[in-house]
Amino acid sequence: MKKNENRPRYKGRSSFLRYELKGSAGFFIATMLLSAFAALTELINPRIISCVIDYVIGDEKLPDSGAEAAFIRILGGRGYISEHIFIPALMVIGVGLLSAAVKYLGGAVNSAGAERFVQRLRNTLYAQTVKLPMSWHQQNPAGNIIQRCTSDVETVKNFVSAQLTSFARIILLIALSMVFMVKINVRLTLIAAAFIPIIVGYSLFFHSRIGKTFMKADNEEGVVSSIVQENLTGIRVVRAFGKEAYECDRFTAKNESYTLLWIRIMRILSIFWSMGDLISGLQVMLVVILGAVLCVKGELSVGNYIAFVSYNAMLTWPVRELGRTIADLSRAGVSIDRIMFIMNSEPEDLTKGSSDFDEDCDVLIKFDKVSFSYKDGTDVLKDIDIEVRKGEKIGIIGGTGSGKSTMMDLLTRLCDEDRVRGVISFMGKDIKEYALTDLRRRFSKVSQEPFLFSGTIAENISISADDISEEQIMEAVRDASLDTMVDSFKKGLDTYVGERGVTLSGGQKQRCAIAAGLVKRADVLILDDSFSALDAETDERIRKTLYEKYSGMTMIIIAHRITTIAGCDRIYVLDNGRIADSGTHQELIGRKGIYKDIYELQSGR
């Protein structure tokens, strides 16, 4: 995919398809042409065979002009062919070979196009989603987004690559068969064709009806699956409360209702299939009998009769497929809409803005009367004034929900900026003036519940830095007191973690994240309650390293434990979104207040 391609906002489904089909549309047009050609070649063999049966093997009277006569003439006449019947036989093989080659080509081109299309779609979707602002991600549940990026993408892909092309192919096939059939006998063709709207309408009606039940069954399966998931993740709780029987009953009940739903689907499907069989069976029967009657009346030759019956047989499946395809079209429309919702959301512009940082500025961070609210009315932060100078270690303490993490989100512009009042500046300039990426590069943030990507420990630690030596990684590992853990793994730094790897404990994850934060070498290191799962000894060890070895680095440390922040140059005490107090540890314990209360509780004084 080209870089920095400007993607338009999609006004409708067609503009969406137009954009996403760039680079693959040619393949699909080629596929349609090829499959039309393949369909054409498929119709040739029945003609050859009926001609040979009629005029060479049988003794129909050869008309003076027409395709058949020309065909027989070119091959050397009736007598010659009946002596050398392998000639038309070889022709059948030849046509078969041609048809096979065209089919292969069509399939290959189609899959090339389909994969190109789906790749482009996935890539634009990914690039878009990752750039959508944090506030958007908070509003839209993860499972929902992922479903749009996976199953909806799959639906649209099938629509474009399979349904659209097969739709074209089916229409063509029907049209061609009809043309040949009309040439053989108009009356019989009309009778055969009368069934087409019936079958199409019937299957269309049916497919649009069953779609809802399928969706319901999918949801039910989701419920069953999440019961299993919950049971497995909470197995200790289930055991500890002795609720095995209850869990089993719950599962069995849901499983049963899911099963009943499927039985209903199966019933409908069975009726549909067998009714479809019946209708098309009747149609075939009608053609066979009426054809025979026409034969007897002399209006139809035996060869033409055979050809007609085989054309008719060829018609049956495409017609039955047609209804299904049309029903699928509407489902694809829904998926396109769901994808467009993501595509048309406003992403963050990562590069727009200044990247000039006044490196000499002594005051790194300044909050000037900053307030913020997630919803109207309730301020999470109120009139925050904070100043952080270069090289300072700043501590922040406060109860759950006092707005500590929100403050850090504001600093890195992760919150909805329209809701921020007051000015936050970094290196002397309003943070809104900087390009997002450049601004965020200046911060290294370690969060309370760190996220590890599936990959090795080394990959996770070096994730924000590209050229980094094993040596540097090891150094960070030691600084984050992770060395004993790494040593205990057989594969050391190359141990796989994350979804399909070793599960790390909360404390181990936090230390990994700290190591990754150190490797990033930003101007400001933010430790957002990153020590909460560590035991006191480890906490102390890491803290000491940070103070001594990284003493020149500006740090903001958020914590519950007094010991973690007691050594900071300045501590801000947050209470209900306001700064209740600030000062050094000594100053704060010297006066009455929340800080002193916490201190006394924790030290048991």
Binding site: N110, E115, L232, C248, M266, G281, K520
Partner: protein
């Protein structure tokens, strides 16, 4: 099942007979120019059609039934089996892998057993009857066609094998892509703060590129497959035209027979492909079946003995009338223990008496093995040697269910179920009254949490309770344990994520809560456990010391060093060198 096979058989037999009707129509009416038997012909045709439609309905619906019931039964059995497995199994197998055994392997098995079996019956019967008809019409042509059919089968088999392999790779790559998306969406905050959008994008683009490579190859392969098959069918037609044409010209065969042969030759390749496809499907689901069976064969390490089940009932049919009251006296008697997946003995000949109502604290560094004793008391594991006695009786002499119904366990990583707060609180005691609920919430200072939510107790808390913070989840799960009113209470870092002031409040409540119950407290912060009756200090997986706070402090051993280190930390931090002189930047 038998009905299904019979129906399938009838159906495909009917299918294979229809061309005979066409032949009759051709030879009798068209060729001889008469319509004498038209009425019985139509009647027979309609009758056959009806039989075929009925057969296809019955077999389809039976297949569907078989599929869903196999699916349901396998899942029910697997789920039930899972409830009885010991916890060690869950420690060594990831949730994802067990989950896929219960959900996807079973559905694959159900589908294959029902539909594929049907396919084989259907196609097999169709094929056999076609071949039979062909053999009767012309043995020599039959031989030629048989050769082609065999060739087609072999080709299909080879292609299918390859396709299955490549499709497996597609699925794997697909799960990589889904994993990427999942990671992007759930880790978007980290991506943004790390400013690694481009890197993640490029990684993802690499994976979709790889996906395209594999998929295109698979697309080409299946295109080649279907065109080969269509070529083989052209070959078959050609053979029939050539040999059959000769025979007909020589008057050794009727024109009608020739046309029947034509349609047979064409109609045969479908069933052949389908049989081959089914065979390879069966080979492919062998893996699913094995994974499922493996799960079902695992037996619990801590299963109750038959005589125990006889008396106490099992988890699904407990005989509560035989259950004794629990008192809460625990005794470890010469217990030795090794974790099933470890090789070092973590307890050796350990003996300890814990009288009813006492509070035992277990302290030590992260990963030191503090949970071992608790695991043994809960009988999540059984001692390798010696025994754990409860009220004077070996735990193994009574049922796990009885034991667990008397234990309350609050975990460090709390697990809440999706549903409302009320559902979660009532999990351990379904018949608790409003008053009991609110007093349990008050006891652990969790009332504020509930009041802060829009719908109070009836607020839905999402999957895994994810709309609550870790600290809030801990408090709710604490309240849940309290509500169940257990005789043994286990607090495993129960308040680690709760802020200091709330924790302090709970501390005082714990004293009340634990009165009369035997309590185990596992804790990092030693200030919370100084008042325990017995403190067990664990180091490197082994018990280093035990005694009361005062005793252990006198001893000046491991606990002493732990305690002083933690306790004087604050003062030490301030005396640290760094605050007296600035250090240069590295």
């Amino acid at each position: 099942m038998i009905v299904m096979i019979a129906a399938g058989f009838i159906c495909s037999a009917c299918d294979s007979v229809f061309p005979l009707f066409n032949r009759y129509a051709l030879d009798h009416y068209a060729a001889e120019k008469t319509l004498d038997t038209l009425r019985p012909f139509i009647l027979l045709y309609v009758l056959l059609l009806a039989v075929q439609v009925a057969g296809s309905y019955i077999s389809a619906i039976l297949c569907g039934m078989i599929e869903v019931s196999v699916n349901r039964d396998l899942r029910n059995r697997a789920f039930r089996h899972i409830q009885e497995l010991s916890l060690s199994y869950f420690n060594s197998n990831s949730v994802g892998s067990i989950h896929s055994r219960i959900m996807s392997d079973t559905s694959k098995i159900g589908e294959t057993v029902a539909w594929r079996l049907m396919d084989i019956v259907w196609s097999g019967a169709y094929l056999v009857s076609i071949l039979f008809n062909m053999l009767i019409i012309s043995p020599s042509l039959f031989a030629a066609i048989l050769l082609l059919v065999t060739a087609a089968a072999v080709i299909s088999f080879i292609f299918q094998g390859k396709l299955i392999k490549i499709n497996r790779r597609i699925r794997e790559q697909n799960s990589v892509i889904t994993g990427d998306l999942n990671e992007m969406v759930t880790g978007v905050r980290t991506i943004k703060t790390m400013t690694i959008e481009k890197k993640m994008e490029n990684n993802f683009f690499g994976n979709t590129e790889k996906m395209r490579g594999i998929s295109v190859r698979s697309g080409r392969l299946s295109a080649l497959f279907s065109s080969t098959v269509s070529f083989v069918s052209a070959l078959a037609l050609s053979v029939v035209l050539w040999r059959g044409g000769r025979l007909t010209i020589e008057k050794a065969m009727l024109i009608g027979d020739l046309s029947v042969f034509m349609s047979y030759a064409l109609g045969m390749l479908g069933p052949v492909q389908s049989i081959v496809n089914t065979l390879s499907q069966f080979i492919a689901i062998k893996a699913n079946w094995e994974r499922f069976i493996e799960l079902m064969r695992v037996s619990s390490d801590v299963a109750d003995k038959p005589e125990v089940i006889e008396k106490y009932g099992d988890a699904f049919a407990p005989k509560r009338e035989n259950w004794e009251q629990m008192c809460g006296n625990i005794r470890f008697e010469n217990v030795s223990f090794t974790y099933p997946d470890g090789d070092a003995e973590v307890l050796t000949d350990f003996t300890l008496d814990i009288p009813k109502g006492s509070m035992v604290a277990i302290v030590g560094e992260t990963g030191a093995g503090k949970s071992t004793l608790v695991n043994l008391v809960c009988r999540f594991y059984e001692p390798t040697k010696g025994k754990v006695l409860l009220d004077g009786k070996d735990l193994r002499e009574r049922s796990v269910m009885w034991l667990h119904s008397h234990i309350g366990y609050v975990l460090q990583t709390p697990h809440l179920f999706s549903g409302t707060i009320r559902d979660n609180l009532l999990y351990g005691k379904p018949d608790a009254s409003e008053e009991e609920i609110s007093s349990a919430l008050k006891a652990v200072h969790a009332s504020d949490i509930v009041e802060g939510l829009d719908n109070g107790l009836d607020s839905v808390i999402g999957e895994g309770g994810n709309s609550l913070s870790t600290g809030q989840k801990q408090l709710i799960s604490f309240a849940r344990a309290v509500l169940a009113d257990p005789d043994i209470l286990i607090l495993d870092e129960a308040t680690a994520s709760v802020d200091t002031i709330t924790e302090k409040k709970i501390q005082s409540a714990i004293k009340k809560l634990t009165y009369g119950r035997t309590t185990f407290v596992i804790a990092h912060r030693l200030s919370t456990i100084v008042e325990a009756d017995l403190i067990i200090a664990v180091n490197n997986g082994r018990i280093a010391e035990q005694g009361s706070h005062a005793e252990l402090m006198m001893k000046k051993g491991y606990y002493y060093s732990l305690y002083t280190r933690q306790h004087e930390d604050i003062d030490r931090v301030l005396k640290d060198d760094r605050y007296t002189e600035e250090m240069p930047i590295r």
